[in-house]
């Protein structure tokens, strides 16, 4: 359906959207499309797990349907619900019009038009579509088991309507921050990919691709600084998302390059803990910038 016949093609198509992938992720995306398997993404915050779903949606020209998990989420929030007020209104209207055929009325009440499709059902009914199940580790075990059923069969049974099946299964991306062990039964049905922080070259390429209007030198310097920060022992090492934020912040200030002072002043866009900021202040930004500047001329 997508004309993606190899991992290389998957990579090329994703890169067109500005999302750069490494070998493993290219293979994962290709297999997800070919074998209709969900991709299970784990890794630190800000490494592009959620962005992957957006990029896939763009590649496929499909809507992105997002299900944000939280504690206590249940089937009626994730799958479907009946629009009770409208059903009641319908009932009243029928009564006022003098309809006496009870059977027909009942059938009408549980018509599709009164069915409120929540993200999972919407993903099954939309073809093609990309379904993002975000932060699955926040949901409870019961919800995981329920999700397992939906994702392995790609169908849902509504008692009043029967079984609704996806003709083309949606492309599914699950993300987890590892706050809790996700059950192995769910992971078994997925392709598991661990997201690492990118190296300098790839991160620079991502920045250049995502923020084409920014000066090359600024992108390079900020990337070097972030890489240096990641090597430090921080509470929350910055992700690619923070790198982009930092570049945007400096660019908004009209900077063509990141002077040590300016970088120090905008640290708040990368580091979100006081302890981390303190530690970063101890670093010699000028030396890092100079080292990178000399390296690339």
């Amino acid at each position: 359906m997508t004309g993606i016949d190899s991992p290389e093609e998957a990579r090329a198509r994703l890169e067109e959207t500005g999302y750069l992938v490494d070998d493993g992720l290219a293979v994962a995306c290709f297999l997800a499309l070919r074998l209709h398997r969900p991709v299970f993404c784990e890794g630190d915050a800000g490494v592009g797990k959620t962005a992957l779903a957006g990029a896939l949606a763009e590649v496929l020209g499909a809507p992105l349907i997002r299900l944000q998990c939280h504690e206590g989420i249940d089937a009626s929030q994730a799958l479907y619900d009946w629009d009770f007020p409208r059903q009641l209104l319908h009932l009243r209207a029928a009564e006022a019009a003098g309809v006496t055929d009870a059977d027909r009325l009942e059938r009408e009440l549980y018509d599709r038009r009164f069915l409120l499709a929540r993200p999972l059902l919407r993903a099954l009914q939309t073809q093609p579509s990309v379904l993002l199940v975000d932060e699955i580790d926040r949901a409870d075990d019961e919800f995981e088991a329920f999700l397992l059923e939906v994702l392995s069969e790609f169908q849902v049974t509504v008692p009043e309507l029967g079984t609704l099946r996806a003709e083309v299964p949606p492309v599914v991306v699950l993300t987890s921050n590892r706050t809790r062990e996700v059950h192995d039964a769910l992971k078994r049905r997925c392709l598991y990919h661990w997201f690492d922080h990118p190296g300098f070259a790839r991160e620079l390429a991502i920045v250049r691709r995502r923020l084409p209007g920014v000066s090359a030198r600024l992108a390079e310097q900020v990337t070097a600084l972030v890489q240096a920060l990641r090597a430090e022992d921080l509470l929350k090492p910055p992700g690619v998302a923070e790198t982009l934020d930092w570049v945007r912040a400096l660019d908004a200030l009209g900077a063509d390059e990141a002077g040590a002072e300016l970088a120090m002043a905008t640290l708040g866009s990368v580091l979100k803990y006081r302890e981390d900021t303190d530690r970063a202040r101890g670093l010699d930004f000028a030396a890092i910038l100079a080292g990178r500047g000399a390296g690339t001329g």
């Binding site: 074998l35 009770f84 661990w194």
Partner: protein, 399 residues
């Protein structure tokens, strides 16, 4: 999901690889192998990089699996395609001494119970369960130990209750529009009494950090069995600390206690080493705690607080933990010793960030610990021991 991949020439090789992975400790189920074969079939199985990724994506299920996968792949097919090797490259676990009976490192303590050997059985004629409940588990003979194990197996650790986002039908509470209207529908539009619902309560997550270093050796077995019983409460995570941090929740989920203990001793590489509480606590917070494991949870440290490293680091990490967790409980088996004072550098550094400081040396003490975790007994570190003053840390320190 049916297999449509015809068997390919290299199937035997791939199956052999899967078997090697299983031997290396990966949970390679038949279903995963099936997925692996299909994935390899969709790719070019003769290309090593493709084979590498096909296996890694389908046969691994956890970050901790990646390092072992890397190793087995290297052994079977030569080095991987230079993808990013996982950063937590652990060296192979060193062989573990099992029954090295050794008292705590003499240099580290200097005071307290050092001169008191774990008391020999005094009046052991009547070793009824009631007496055993109060005995220090460090000084038990094998028969008593077995009985204590049975006592420990009866534990269920429940976290303190907190309000959940979920609502349940209830007699009093807020108006439940959805169920009321559904009821109206059922009656064909006739009026019906309003339905109400209220928020449910759920137990908080409990995180146990069990010290398995040398000085805790007499207690490690009992504490881990306690943890095993606690894990059946489902919302409990268990880690061991010593020279390394190891997550053992999965190992402890074996229903059979002895099997679980065997799995844990297999997984924990650092029995009876020194203690680096500060470093390991930081690792715990970085890798798990801050992301949510410790957030809003009841965190219990089962340790004697002998810290080999810098107590300032421990103090800083304890403050961090205290900010994340709902309650921090410290159970110290040595606290019950007469004349105990929390003067070990680590313990003293940690206490300001501890909400409840309790004993942890006997079944009765662990029962009390369970009550504290449940929130039933909020009396922090009361009763015996000189640590009560510092331990009743009601004046929570906020940084």
């Amino acid at each position: 999901m049916t297999g449509d991949g015809p068997p390919l020439g290299g199937d035997a090789v791939l199956l052999g690889f899967a078997r090697a992975l299983r031997a290396a400790g990966l949970a390679v189920s038949a279903e995963r192998v099936h997925a692996f074969l299909r994935a390899a079939d969709a790719l070019r199985p003769e290309v090593r990089a493709d084979l590498y990724w096909a296996g890694r994506l389908t046969l691994c299920g956890d970050r901790d699996d990646l390092e072992r996968y890397e190793r087995v792949f290297g052994a079977c097919f030569g080095p991987g395609p230079g993808g990013e090797p996982p950063r937590t490259a652990r060296p192979a676990p060193p062989p573990r001494p099992r029954v090295a009976v050794r008292e705590a490192p003499a240099g580290a303590r200097g005071r307290g119970g050092a001169d008191r050997p774990p008391g020999p059985p005094v009046a052991s004629l009547a070793s009824s369960a009631e007496v055993l409940r109060h005995r220090d588990v460090a000084g038990l003979d094998p028969a008593e130990r077995a009985q204590v194990r049975r006592l420990l197996a009866a534990f269920a650790l429940r976290g303190q209750a907190r309000r959940s986002a979920r609502r349940r039908p209830a007699r009093r509470g807020e108006f439940d529009a959805r169920r009321t209207v559904r009821e109206l529908l059922r009656r064909g539009g006739e009026p019906a009494p309003p339905r109400l619902h209220a928020r449910t309560e759920r137990p908080r997550r409990v995180v146990l950090l069990v010290d398995v270093s040398g000085s805790m050796a007499p207690y490690a077995d009992a504490l881990l069995r306690f943890a095993h019983a606690a894990v059946r409460g489902r919302r409990t995570e268990v880690f061991t600390v010593g020279t390394r941090l190891t997550r053992v929740t999965r190992e402890l989920s074996h229903r059979d206690a002895d099997l679980a203990m065997a799995a844990v001793s297999e997984a924990v590489p650092d029995w009876r080493g020194g203690t680096r509480l500060g470093v390991l606590l930081r690792e715990f917070l970085d890798r798990y705690g801050q992301r949510g494991t410790a957030r809003g949870a009841v965190v219990v440290l089962l340790s004697d607080g002998w810290e080999r490293g810098d107590p300032r680091l421990l103090a800083a990490q304890m403050r961090r933990l205290h900010r994340l967790a709902h309650r921090v409980v410290w159970a110290n088996p040595r606290k019950a010793r007469p004349g105990y004072a929390p003067l070990a550098a680590g313990m003293a550094a940690a206490l300001p960030s501890v909400d409840a400081f309790v004993e942890g040396h006997s079944v009765a003490a662990l029962e009390r610990l369970a009550a504290v975790v449940r929130g039933a007994d909020s009396g922090a570190g009361t009763g015996t021991g000189a640590g009560a003053g510092a331990g009743g840390a009601k004046g929570r320190e906020r940084a």
